[in-house]
Structure formats: structure tokens, C-alpha cells
């Protein structure tokens, strides 16, 4: 349950964050954007807007990883969840000629992949990495076998300009002229943050991820919690797939998710298993991609296409190489949980 008190706490936390030493980064970023904007406003707005567009699916996919790992389940099957849900989202929307059905199908199919992962890892106590790989390979097999060419969507989700806010220079174009799933996804990320650190659910989830037998002792049903969280995370992954297929791209192809599910795991680690941290990390990834694209478009540098395509993957490895070792994930992630027999 979200109380007003929690919202107040977030505001209090944000104001105190703006006074902390880390906020230096924030001011540097703001000044850099202001400077770039004064030099070339068109490109700056384009880069900033695409940073969000590219970064959002990564951030949302990273939430899947955070929710799972915080309850002690390593989810390497995010890629499969994205692929499956984008597939169902696209084809249901194309066959019914209705985007809402597509969206619902994507969320439901994402939840099913979560259920499969929960079954394999929680009930059957399989190696979690192999379980996730199975989700991925099954998703690849299913979507490539049932894939048919020649279908198209009636439309993609339109952008909603929020009256008033969308007229603000820079910020209006970057934040307030987006599609419905973008708004919804961003809101959900903040909701997840508040829920993770300010509700009983969050406390229990984190307890299970750190020390499941102790959580069990205090009366939490570890198994049930893991199931619920992994399935909700899958549904969230389904929303991400819907964003990719129905709002961002508007089509589907074999191998459509292109490794985003794995990059999301790097973003989760870079963001220290914290929803807001992961959101910032994802926007950074989106920014790198957007900047490279813009430099190409403006003809400022001639980078061969493959190197642009490589960028998110290289960045993933570099970021992990620098952040891993300094951060610590949930202690019980990856280990099957066995209730002790009395």
C-alpha cells in the first residue's frame, strides 16, 4: 500500500539528495545539457529524447531482473520474456487489429515466462542460469517457428502530448511528448522503488533475497513470495516487450529483442539492484547510443555501422568491468531455497 507519507519521504529524500556530494554529477549533467542546448538546440533535444527512447526498455527490463534477484532468483531469461511478449503483442495486435489486445497478450505471455522460470527454479530447484537459458532458447524456438511474414499493425501507440507540460522548452519534448507505455513504465519504475524500500512487501522481498531461512522463520512463505514476484516481474517484462513492438518499433522479426535482456542485467548491476539507479544507468546507455547516432546523422564522425551497433554490448562489458566487485547483489540470489525440515 502506498501512503502519502511514502511520497513525502521520497520528496524529502530527493531534496536531501540534491544537497549531497553525489549531486555534483547531477549539476554537471545539467550544465552540460544547457551548454549543448545553447550551441545546437535541435541536436541536443534529439539526443536527449532518444536517450529516453533507447534507455526506457533497458530500464524496464532491468526492473524484471531487480524484482527477481531481490527475491533470490537470478533471471537470465529476460531476453526470452522480451522476445515472447513482443511476439504475442505484435501478432495478437495485428490479427485483432487492436493494440489493447496486443498489450494485454504481451503482458500475459510475459507473466507466463515468469511462471515457467519460477516453476523451474523455485519448485524444481534447477540451476537458475540454465533455467533462464531454457526460457531463452524455448522463446527463440517458439517465436521463430510460429513467425509469419506479411502482418502489420493497425497503428502504433500514438504519442500523448501532455497539455502545458509539453510546451516547456527541452523538457517538454524529452519527457512530455511520449507514448502511453513510456509514461506508464516510468511511473511503474518509481512505484517499484517506493514499494521496494517503503512497504512491507519490499522489506520481505529483500529479506528473502538476503537470508531466506531467516525470512521463513519470521513467518514469510518464501516459496509463495518468490512465485508472486517472479510472475509479476515477468508481466513487467511483457510490458517492456509491448513497448518495443507496439510503441517503439511497430513490427516484429526473428531475434527481435537483440540482446536487450542481457544488457538489462548489466544495467541492474550498474544500478546496484536499485530501481532508480538502474533507470539512471539505462538512460546513460540510451544516451551513448543516441549520441553516436546523432554524430553519424550530423556527419561529424564517420563511424562504420557495425561499430555503432556494437556500442551497447561494449558498454555493457566496460561498465561491468568497472562496477562489478564494488557492488554486491542480494546474497541468496542464484541459490535454490530448501526449507529446513523440523
Amino acid at each position: 500500500m502506498l501512503r502519502l507519507q511514502a511520497v513525502g519521504e521520497v520528496i524529502k529524500m530527493m531534496t536531501s539528495a540534491l544537497r549531497s556530494r553525489k549531486s555534483l554529477y547531477f549539476y554537471v549533467v545539467v550544465i552540460a545539457i544547457a551548454f549543448a542546448y545553447s550551441v545546437n538546440s535541435v541536436s541536443t533535444v534529439a539526443v536527449a529524447a532518444s536517450s529516453i527512447t533507447f534507455g526506457l526498455p533497458l530500464a524496464m527490463a532491468a526492473m524484471v531482473g531487480i524484482m527477481c534477484e531481490r527475491t533470490g532468483v537470478v533471471n537470465i531469461g529476460i531476453e526470452g520474456t522480451l522476445l515472447t511478449s513482443a511476439f504475442f503483442g505484435f501478432f495478437v495486435a495485428a490479427l485483432s487489429q487492436n493494440l489493447i489486445w496486443g498489450l494485454l497478450a504481451a503482458i500475459a505471455s510475459g507473466a507466463v515466462t515468469g511462471l515457467l522460470l519460477a516453476l523451474l527454479t523455485v519448485s524444481w530447484k534447477m540451476d537458475q542460469i540454465i533455467a533462464g537459458t531454457i526460457v531463452n532458447i524455448l522463446a527463440t524456438g517458439l517465436t521463430s517457428f510460429f513467425y509469419k511474414q506479411g502482418y502489420s499493425l493497425p497503428a502504433i501507440f500514438p504519442r500523448w502530448s501532455i497539455p502545458g507540460l509539453s510546451d516547456i522548452p527541452f523538457l517538454g519534448r524529452v519527457f512530455f511528448q511520449s507514448g502511453p507505455i513510456t509514461y506508464f513504465g516510468l511511473i511503474l519504475i518509481f512505484v517499484l522503488y517506493v514499494a521496494m524500500y517503503h512497504t512491507a512487501w519490499g522489506l520481505r522481498t529483500r529479506a528473502i533475497g538476503e537470508y531466506p531461512s531467516s525470512a521463513e522463520t519470521s513467518g514469510i512463505s518464501v516459496k509463495k513470495f518468490k512465485y508472486i514476484n517472479v510472475v509479476i516481474a515477468g508481466a513487467f517484462g511483457g510490458l517492456t516487450g509491448a513497448y518495443l513492438a507496439l510503441e517503439l518499433v511497430g513490427s516484429f522479426d526473428r531475434g527481435f529483442s537483440a540482446g536487450k535482456g542481457f544488457t538489462a542485467l548489466a544495467i541492474m548491476i550498474f544500478g546496484r539492484w536499485n530501481p532508480i539507479g538502474a533507470l539512471l544507468a539505462a538512460i546513460f546507455f540510451g544516451f551513448a547510443q543516441a549520441l553516436a547516432n546523432q554524430l553519424m546523422i550530423d556527419g561529424l564522425v564517420a563511424i562504420p555501422g557495425p561499430f555503432i551497433n556494437m556500442l551497447p554490448y561494449v558498454l555493457t562489458i566496460v561498465v561491468l568491468a568497472f562496477s562489478a566487485g564494488k557492488v554486491r547483489g542480494p546474497a541468496a540470489a542464484g541459490q535454490p531455497y530448501e526449507r529446513e525440515q523440523a
Binding site: V74, I76, L120, W124, K125, M126, D127, Q128, I129, I130, A131, T133, I134, I137, L138, T140, G141, L142, S144, F145, Y147, G259, F262, T263, L265, A266, I269, P304, G305, P306, F307, N309, M310, Y313, V314, T316, I317, L320, A321, A324, G325, V327, R328, G329, A331, A333, G334, Q335, P336
Partner: protein, 349 residues
């Protein structure tokens, strides 16, 4: 009895997967019996079909072995694909750029260069795992994409054949090509030798013993005085060298040049084969022959029975599911194989 138990789960998994495949074919309006008949007669009954089957099985067997080494050493090497491409491209370069060598020198040189370039890719993942604690599944998947993009750049840029429209390297010299002996591709014979070699390493050498000890229990290995980090790096280098060698064999024996569109998916089938073989190097060979046959005869099956060859992807995925998930042992009341953790978590080691 032990042998029977080792074979029974994979066999049941195959039967179930083909059954599900048949049901899917019926729902799509095709005749599964005709499809499977076409698949297996094409793959295993004619001289020509068998040659193709063994040709396709070669890189699958070698990349399967590359995954097996990793699994034994506690590493889940998803990167056989990238390591294989790296080796295939390097071997193609050595095959066309170096000329004037006799075959007896040129072929081994190309194979060794392929193995070295494959092992470089493996080294990156191994070093990041050992010294930075980054899980090899993430790094190897990222490296797969990076290597593929880099190979596309090279084969469409510096190494592109002059005058070619598509991205590919020039064809390799005749002195670098490997053929067949009595209908069996030499590459396949090499993969058989490699399988025995890997089996021998794990059965008889201290290197293999160290790999397995680290794979089973890092702390115990460390306590026993094994350099855990160095072993992790070494194991990934060995995986990469094998997969790169497999790519080189594919280039020299089948493709004859490097083209990014080829070699796709070989490393991923290697994962399925390795898990189907339960990380036993000798069992990789029959698995690879089966998969190679299916991959090779897929297009014919599409032609005769109208089933899209992607059904094979799906069948293999189902096989993998039933081999690794402890369902079969539950249903058939087999003494269950222990759910060993082959991999470790990240960020916390």
C-alpha cells in the same frame, strides 16, 4: 546399468520432443510421418546425405566440446558462437592471404590461427570472470554480438573480396582446403579425435582434475592449493580455442571463405548438444551427428513435406528443456540426477 541411466533421459527427451513436433506439424496442416521420414532418410540413408550430415555435425561437435569443457570447469560458456566466428574469420584470412605454402603446412597453420583467435575471445570472458567477478554468461553473450559485428565490419571492409556485392572474404587458397577420406569429412574425423582428447584430459590428467575441482567447489579447490583464478581463465581459453578451431574447420572444409551469414547458430546448438550429452565429451559425437543430420536435411523436409525448417529449432529447444529440467526423472521415477549447480551467482563472489 549406469550406462543405461545416462542414456535413458536424453532418449525420452528426444521422443517427447519429436512427439510435440509432430503435433505442431499436424496443427499446421502437414503430415509429420512424411516430414520425419524425409528428414531421416535424407540425413542418414544416402551417401550424399551422410556426407552432408557429417559435414554439419563437425562444427556442432567441436562447439559442443567447447561448452562441455566449460560445464566441467563450472563455467557456462554461451560464447561458443562468438569464439567460433572469430576462429572462422581468422582462418579464412590465413587461408587466402597466405599463399605459396604446401598443404601440409597451410592447413595446420590456418587451424592454429583459428584456435588462437577463438581463444582470445575466450580469454576476455575468462579474465573478466576471474579478476572482475563478472558472470561469464553476460560477457560471452555480449562478446557474441561484438564479434559478429566486428566480423561484419571486417568482411565488408578491410577483408572484403574486391568487386563483391555482399560482405565476404576472398576464397581461401586450394592449399588450405580440407576434403574427405572415404566419404567422411576430415573435419569430422578431427572432431572425433578432439572428443577423445577432451575425454582423456578429464579422465587422466591433472589439468582436467583441476578444472573439475574448481568447477565442483571453488573453496575446496583453493584450499587444496589450486590457483582458482588462473584455472578459470585457462578453462575459458581452452573453450575458446576449441570453438575457434571448430570455426576454422568449418571455413576450410565447408564454406571456403568467410561470410557473416554462415556459421549462425552453430555455437547455440553446441550448448544443447553439451547438455544433452550431460557434459560427457564422448557422448557429444552422437548428439552432434543427430543434430547435424536434422540441420542438414531441414531444407529437404521443407521441400517434400511443407514444414518450415524452424520446427527443428523448436524441437531442439524442447529437447533441451526435457534434458535439463528434472521432469523426466520425476515422471518415470528414475533415480534423479542431482541438481548440481554448475554456475555461480554474480556480483557477490
Amino acid at each position: 546399468m549406469k550406462l543405461v541411466r545416462a542414456w535413458i533421459t536424453p532418449l525420452i527427451a528426444l521422443v517427447i520432443a519429436f512427439g510435440i513436433g509432430a503435433i505442431l506439424m499436424i496443427t499446421q496442416g502437414s503430415d509429420p510421418l512424411r516430414a520425419y521420414e524425409s528428414l531421416f532418410t535424407t540425413a542418414f540413408s544416402t551417401q550424399e546425405g551422410l556426407a552432408k550430415t557429417f559435414g554439419k555435425a563437425t562444427p556442432l561437435a567441436i562447439s559442443g566440446l567447447a561448452v562441455v569443457i566449460g560445464l566441467r570447469a563450472g563455467l557456462f560458456n554461451i560464447g561458443a558462437q562468438g569464439q567460433l566466428i572469430s576462429g572462422a574469420l581468422a582462418a579464412a584470412w590465413a587461408g587466402y592471404a597466405i599463399t605459396g605454402l604446401p598443404m601440409i603446412a597451410h592447413v595446420p597453420l590456418c587451424l592454429i590461427i583459428g584456435a588462437i583467435f577463438g581463444s582470445l575471445v575466450g580469454y576476455i570472458a575468462g579474465a573478466l570472470k576471474a579478476y572482475r567477478g563478472i558472470h561469464e554468461v553476460i560477457t560471452t553473450i555480449m562478446l557474441n554480438s561484438i564479434v559478429l559485428q566486428f566480423a561484419e565490419y571486417l568482411s565488408n571492409g578491410p577483408l572484403k573480396e574486391e568487386g563483391s556485392i555482399i560482405a565476404k572474404t576472398p576464397p581461401i587458397a586450394d592449399s588450405a582446403k580440407i576434403g574427405s577420406i572415404a566419404g567422411l569429412p576430415i573435419g569430422f574425423l578431427l572432431s572425433g579425435l578432439l572428443a577423445v582428447g577432451v575425454w582423456w584430459i578429464f579422465k587422466k590428467t591433472t589439468t582436467g582434475f583441476r578444472f573439475e575441482t574448481v568447477g565442483k567447489n571453488k573453496n575446496a579447490a583453493w584450499y587444496a592449493g589450486i590457483a582458482v583464478k588462473r584455472n578459470t581463465v585457462f578453462a575459458m581459453v581452452a573453450c575458446g580455442a576449441l570453438a575457434g578451431f571448430g570455426g576454422a574447420v568449418e571455413t576450410l572444409g565447408v564454406v571456403g571463405k568467410f561470410e557473416p551469414a554462415f556459421n549462425q547458430g552453430l555455437g547455440f546448438d553446441g550448448i544443447t548438444i553439451a547438455l544433452l550429452a550431460r557434459a560427457n565429451p564422448l557422448a557429444v559425437i552422437p548428439g552432434a551427428i543427430l543434430f547435424g543430420g536434422m540441420r542438414g536435411a531441414g531444407p529437404t523436409m521443407q521441400f517434400t513435406a511443407g514444414v518450415s525448417p524452424e520446427i527443428i529449432d523448436l524441437i531442439l529447444a524442447i529437447v533441451l528443456f526435457f534434458v535439463t529440467a528434472p521432469i523426466i526423472s520425476r515422471i518415470f521415477k528414475l533415480k534423479s540426477d542431482s541438481n548440481a549447480q554448475v554456475t555461480s551467482g554474480w556480483g557477490s563472489n
